[in-house]
Symmetry: C2
Subunit: 218 residues, 2 copies
Amino acid sequence: MGDADSDFREMIADEWRGALNDSEHRQAMRRLTLVRAAGRAFGRKGFHKTTLDEIAAELSVTKPMLYRYVKSKQEILYECHRIAVTMAEEAYEAAILSGQSPLEQISLFAEDYVARITSTLGSCVVLTEFFSMTDEDTARIQARRAQLDRKLRSLVSQAIEAGEIAPCDAKMAVFFFMGAINGISRWFMADGSIEGPEIAKIFAAHITASLRPTKDMP
Amino acid sequence: MGDADSDFREMIADEWRGALNDSEHRQAMRRLTLVRAAGRAFGRKGFHKTTLDEIAAELSVTKPMLYRYVKSKQEILYECHRIAVTMAEEAYEAAILSGQSPLEQISLFAEDYVARITSTLGSCVVLTEFFSMTDEDTARIQARRAQLDRKLRSLVSQAIEAGEIAPCDAKMAVFFFMGAINGISRWFMADGSIEGPEIAKIFAAHITASLRPTKDMP
DNA sequence: GTAAGGTGTTACTCGTGAGTAACCCCTGGC
DNA sequence: GCCAGGGGTTACTCACGAGTAACACCTTAC
């Protein structure tokens, strides 16, 4: 456990203790803090190797305390996924509202989405561990992701029609770049050598390039 | 449980029963069959939601049987990862031996690697569930993946020096396209509408394109 | 026919960690 | 001084599923 890590732990614990305003608001804030801390732990060690006792310890409390804020461990994981998919949806909406060209919108979406998931505030982690959720929760998240995928495919199709990019299989294209983005959580924070916003720029550039015409594109 | 699935089950069970030659060889074959069946299940339901009883049932035997071929459930997962990383290494070696240009080598590597992991024979699944392994096993696999990453970065650097692609952060570039490839296991086989080799071609094309020069590459 | 050994089964143990019951104490209001 | 109740703890229960012990059958070898 390095220095940076224990600093972070203290930050989290402070956040937990703080916000002593009206109790309903504090309840919500603590819940969010809890989910973030848990998400961070899930990202580092995986869902099943992270015990609730550990999460509790990170917040300087004991396990039963956690049940004041969440119903179950599963619910925490669901919340992490919910936050992540919400970020993606928000990034999409923002891109659409920009009024730019389709390709530009894809690039904006990618940059925004990556920036959001890498910002520490936003439970940077967990796009993995899909299966550890309840079947019900998995279905809920899957549905939202699928809908977003469809919208993105449409964006790719529009870019093709507009002649911005070479004709390609839109579904595969979306799988391609969403896979790359979702993979970030696997290595991010392992080496702190690069900052979120920079990653976002680089990835957006690669994605834009990956869709551009090449001689032997199918 | 659809028709295709039960067909597959029968195939697996047949493979298990078959190969009645000398016992050492059969032992090895059965072990491989077991690992493949397990890998397939892990890919569908996740490591923790797949019980050994289920895997055994898929092979039409009972749990204790499995322990004739593997030491533990963990070992099965390790084996899956070992196979996957070995495939990547083999694809890399083959690409290097081709004697093509660096960019061409990257493309060849990507296509070969994707083709291998999507071929049903090769336990198409599981590049997720990293954390469910023993710490020791995780370290072993991580080390091999890290080494491969370094080699691929070097290939990217060579492509830059050769002027084949625009200057970029080689580490990020590798993370980008390896992320996209490793993401395949999340959606592959969900819809059988597209074949492995075709995916391989499309992904290789996207990767090549993603590295090509663009006006605003950092 | 019987011993050897390979193939398989039934019926357990046992650790682990999620979830809970029951209690404790501190602070503020009267 | 005493009670209400929120924040917190200790010390359990209990299910699940990996791993194992012990037994059972069947075939081939002599």
